[in-house]
């Protein structure tokens, strides 16, 4: 691979590029799914190619091809050069890159069981056993299960001398039970909705998730929701489970801290951010208990945002984003670091595959657990009146990331410290900073889970990326609930 990368870099240098990097990526994935006792889908996919990124005449160009032959690789580099020179026709300043030490390195996701070596028959058997458990509950009208594996090998080289090979493995699985009756379709998912739980792990993740063990309960809850009371509207104390809090972090912290959004680079599609540059180090983002980091290092855990190096060769780092409630950091790249006065990139530039330009993406954006021991049941016992909400059902936030609304699959009333009756269709809404400033308790490390969001969309052409979000259940005071159903 180094020889192929070298051809691209040499051609770029010969044609006058002031900087060039090239990435070869070889992706492999497997996806299995069942529905109502039958196969839903079974597919393998592989994709390989090279992407060449150059700066010429002070502007960026990027070209990619699946063909790794000498002629096509050189043509791809030449196309990137031509595109950069066209970009330079509509520019104001030359691109500047923060310095980064060029390294030669190997990095790989630690795993115990290579998921691609596991038996497809056994994988399907597990999914069908879950399916049977779900459909054993009277009232379940649809049962869906899925299991996914991904392996990505990438080789990166730059004109500055970097040479990095990384191998990333990720695994995901989950299921959902639906119950249709009357005029309502109720749904419960496990371990999380919209694809379950994903981590940068091998097949050992599947064993850890206790999928079969939880299936009967999840199905029973889906059916029971038909008899549950509608979640009341008004203002309430709410406790969110860790998976819902993970998505809350993703939408109302993870996206607004992306420096490309802040700088208007995503204004036409994903949107901008309320976190203008004047707010760094000044904005009271949340309460004293809110401590959030962007941590791509392996020691943070096996998140979908864990890696050795980003896609411009910057090592994984931990950036404090919110420190005791104060806004302290953005997600940055080599191109954008100088704008916030940083002398180095935060190491967050990533691309979906070989054919996409790397861009600023969330790594693992996690809220740190409370330091004092606090279990979920203790938090509920400490709450006089409120609603506990679990598992995301819908999510939406404005294009500056102020106003959000989330729906959850299930809720329970809390009265005098006890979990009471089940509530259907719980939802809550608010303004980002008001919400995070209302957090007055968060559970401790024992309740903390590093969730995977495998489907974060951004960019044009759109790229889908996996991100990680560690969270413990937490409590928020004075939150508006029930707006989603008001007026309908």
């Amino acid at each position: 691979m180094n020889e192929i990368l070298g051809r691209a870099l040499n051609l770029a240098a010969q044609r006058g590029a002031s900087y060039a990097d090239a990435r070869i990526v070889d992706d492999r994935s497997r996806s299995l799914a069942t529905k109502n006792g039958k196969l839903g889908h079974a597919s393998d996919a592989e994709s390989q190619g090279i992407g060449v990124r150059v700066i010429a005449d002070g502007a960026w160009g990027f070209a990619a091809s699946k063909d790794l032959s000498r002629a096509v690789v050189e043509d791809t580099a030449a196309r990137a050069l031509a595109i950069a020179r066209a970009s330079a026709r509509v520019k104001q300043e030359d691109v500047r890159l923060a310095p980064e030490k060029a390294v030669t390195a190997e990095w790989a996701t630690p795993y115990r069981i290579d998921p691609f070596t596991t038996s497809i028959e056994q994988n399907l058997d597990l999914l069908l056993r879950i399916d049977a458990e779900l459909r054993a509950v009277s009232g379940v009208t649809l049962a869906e299960t899925s299991m996914n594996f991904k392996r990505e090998d990438s080789w990166f080289a730059s004109s500055e001398g970097a040479n990095i090979h990384q191998t990333k493995i990720s695994t995901g699985a989950g299921y959902a039970a639906y119950a249709f009756a009357g005029t309502e379709i109720m749904k419960r998912s496990y371990p999380n909705s919209f694809g379950g739980q994903w981590q940068n792990k091998g097949y050992e993740l599947i064993d850890e998730l206790k999928l079969v063990e939880n299936a009967r309960r999840v199905a029973e809850e889906a059916v029971a929701l038909h008899q549950a009371a509608q979640c009341p509207g008004g203002v309430s104390t709410i406790i969110l489970d860790s998976s819902q809090l993970g998505l809350q972090i993703h939408e109302s912290i993870g996206h607004p801290i992306e420096l490309d959004r802040v700088l208007g680079m995503e204004a036409n599609f994903a949107g901008t951010s309320f976190l203008t540059l004047d707010k760094l180090g000044r904005l009271r983002y949340g309460s004293e208990l809110v401590n959030v980091v962007a941590d791509a290092r392996q020691e943070h855990g096996p998140g979908l945002g864990t890696f050795g190096f980003d896609d411009e060769g910057v090592p994984a780092q931990c950036t404090p984003i919110i420190t005791h409630g104060l806004f302290t950091g953005y997600l940055s790249s080599r191109e954008t670091a100088h704008i916030i006065g940083a002398n180095r990139s935060g190491g967050t530039l990533r691309a979906e595959c070989w054919n996409r330009l790397p861009m600023i993406r969330m790594t693992n954006i996690s809220i740190l657990p409370g330091e004092k021991p606090l279990a979920l049941e203790q938090l509920i016992a400490d709450t006089d009146d409120g609603i506990y909400m679990e598992t995301n059902k819908s999510w939406s936030i404005d294009d500056k990331r102020y106003n959000f609304q989330f729906g959850c699959e299930i809720g329970w009333e809390i009265k005098k410290g006890k979990r009471g009756r089940m509530l259907k269709n719980p939802s809550y809404s608010g303004i980002t900073t008001e919400f995070w400033n209302s957090m007055d308790a968060i559970c401790s490390r024992d309740e903390w889970t590093l969730w995977g969001t495998p489907n974060c969309g951004k960019g044009q052409p759109q790229q889908v990326m996996g991100t990680g979000h560690g969270a413990s259940p937490a409590r928020f005071r004075g939150i508006k609930v029930g707006s989603a159903y008001r007026g309908n």
């Binding site: 196969l39 990619a64 970009s87 026709r89 036409n268 599609f269 996409r356 404005d398 729906g407």
Partner: protein, 465 residues
């Protein structure tokens, strides 16, 4: 780009590697170039070339798929074996049909005279980075003339879709596409426009830029207006992005799975009598391949007539299952319509060439505004998600140009609203419509839709800008 003859040769090599009862190959790929601008400069500028094949093998009720973009013989052999390995270990599914042959496909064509227009334009495919930069330069000039900041894209692509199966069926589609979108940003307001077409000559960057700029200027200093139920005038992009969420439910498999809001509602007066919707891949403003994931030709299907949902679409297998099911007698005509996804899949099918019927008396947006005492004009909607799957309540935000209408005139820009609105309710309250146009948004696939004036649209919150 891969030619049909090259694909046929690759398919023959795939067949030789396979021991399956049946083999199918789907070919995909082409080239895409996209120039992206923000802060009045080009900041990202990309091009890619890719093509590949997806192989489905089938052994007596067992089927699976494997894909690769490596088309050398060794890789083809590997992908065939990967597909076979996934298929062999399954339990047989008695409902899995044999692959269709040409005869079955041709017999399912209800009107052979309906063929799509030309959708490949060599000039669009050949659009150069310099030409895209020149168009971007024009958009930036408009922004600078109005003291605005612009961001957006100009892309062009050419791509193929092809299918071959071992029962002799084959089909091939080549297409180009060009797209421009632009956002104009002022201090406290913004405007947006987007258009796409198979033919780049249909795109007018200056007109799009001027309209987006006008929206940004006219919505400056937005007022905060209390949320509530308002008469809204939704421009076509806003209509497309919200109504797109219901078409996933217009497939037979969604009914069988009881995850569709149309369960127990087909044949009822679900929407207003002025709502008519057809799926028609041959419509001159539509786009895409005229065949589905099994190679069946997409038929024109009238979905909604005078507000009554008449039919849904079917893949071959779904049609058979529907006929045998308890739902079969309650869902209108059940016949394979050529809307299936590639197999195996759990979603079945959906209509994706949506054309809304023209109203008897189409009104321009300006005419709708003139006839509105108090309401809101909405340019686009954003981050739409489903809150309730059966009542089809959706939530989302307005974005990039939301205006207060009073006494027949646009009075001011307003801060953006969050809505929680039932699509059933919305399409029952359409007071006026424009002439349907090809519209493009970010939440749903492109459609032919009109602007709509809707009463009692439910805004539940207002944001800070």
């Amino acid at each position: 780009m891969l030619s049909q003859d090259q694909a046929a040769d690759i398919f023959e090599r795939i067949r030789k590697h396979s021991t399956a009862d049946e083999v199918e190959a789907l070919f995909y790929g082409g080239s895409l170039a996209l120039t992206r601008f923000a802060n009045n400069v080009i900041h990202q500028n990309v091009a890619e070339q890719n093509e590949g094949v997806s192989v489905r093998t089938s052994f007596g009720g067992r089927t699976a798929r494997a894909s690769t973009n490596k088309l050398d013989d060794e890789s083809l052999e590997r992908v065939v074996h990967a597909s076979e390995n996934l298929a062999r270990v399954q339990q047989p599914d008695a409902d899995l049909l044999a692959m269709p042959d040409r005869r079955e496909r041709d017999q399912a064509i209800s009107d052979p005279t309906r063929i799509p227009p030309q959708r490949y334009f060599a000039e669009t495919a050949a659009t150069s980075p310099e030409q895209r930069a020149e168009a971007v330069g024009k958009i930036v000039k408009v922004a600078e003339q109005h003291k605005l900041i612009t961001a957006g894209i100009f892309s062009n692509s050419e791509f193929i879709e092809g299918i071959f199966n071992s029962r002799g069926l084959s089909d091939w589609h080549m297409q180009t596409s060009a797209e421009i979108s632009t956002t104009m940003l002022a201090g406290d307001s913004s405007g947006w426009q987007k258009a796409n077409s198979p033919d780049a000559r249909n795109l007018d960057p200056l007109a799009l830029a001027e309209t987006a700029a006008r929206k940004a200027i006219d919505s400056a200093s937005p007022r905060e207006v209390a949320p509530g139920k308002y008469t809204v005038i939704l421009e076509p992009a806003a209509v497309l992005d919200i109504v797109g969420f219901m078409f996933w439910d217009f497939g037979g498999q969604a009914i069988l799975d009881e995850r569709s809001f149309l369960n127990n509602r087909i044949g009822t007066q679900l929407f207003g009598r002025n709502i008519n919707v057809t799926d028609d891949v041959t419509h001159p403003l539509q786009s895409g391949a005229p065949f589905d994931g099994e190679g069946m030709r997409r038929q024109r299907v009238p979905l909604v007539e005078n507000g009554i949902v008449k039919r849904v679409v079917y893949a071959r297998g779904t049609a058979g299952r529907m006929k045998k099911s308890e739902h079969g007698a309650k869902v209108g005509p059940v016949v394979a319509t050529g809307h299936g996804f590639s197999l195996p899949n759990e979603m079945g099918e959906m209509p994706s060439n949506i054309v809304f019927g023209a109203p008897q008396n189409p009104q321009t947006v300006q005419e709708m505004i003139s006839a509105t005492d108090r309401g809101m004009l909405v340019t686009r909607l954003w981050y739409i998600r489903e809150v309730d799957p059966y009542e089809k309540i959706l939530t989302g935000m307005t974005r990039d140009g939301t205006f207060l209408i009073e006494n027949g005139r646009v009075r001011a820009g307003v801060r953006n609203f969050r809505f929680n609105e039932s699509l059933i309710h919305m399409l029952s309250n359409v007071e006026a419509m424009g002439a349907p146009v090809r519209a493009s948004g970010e939440e749903s696939f492109d459609m032919v839709v009109p602007a709509m004036k809707v009463r009692d649209f439910n805004f539940t919150e207002v944001t800070k800008f």
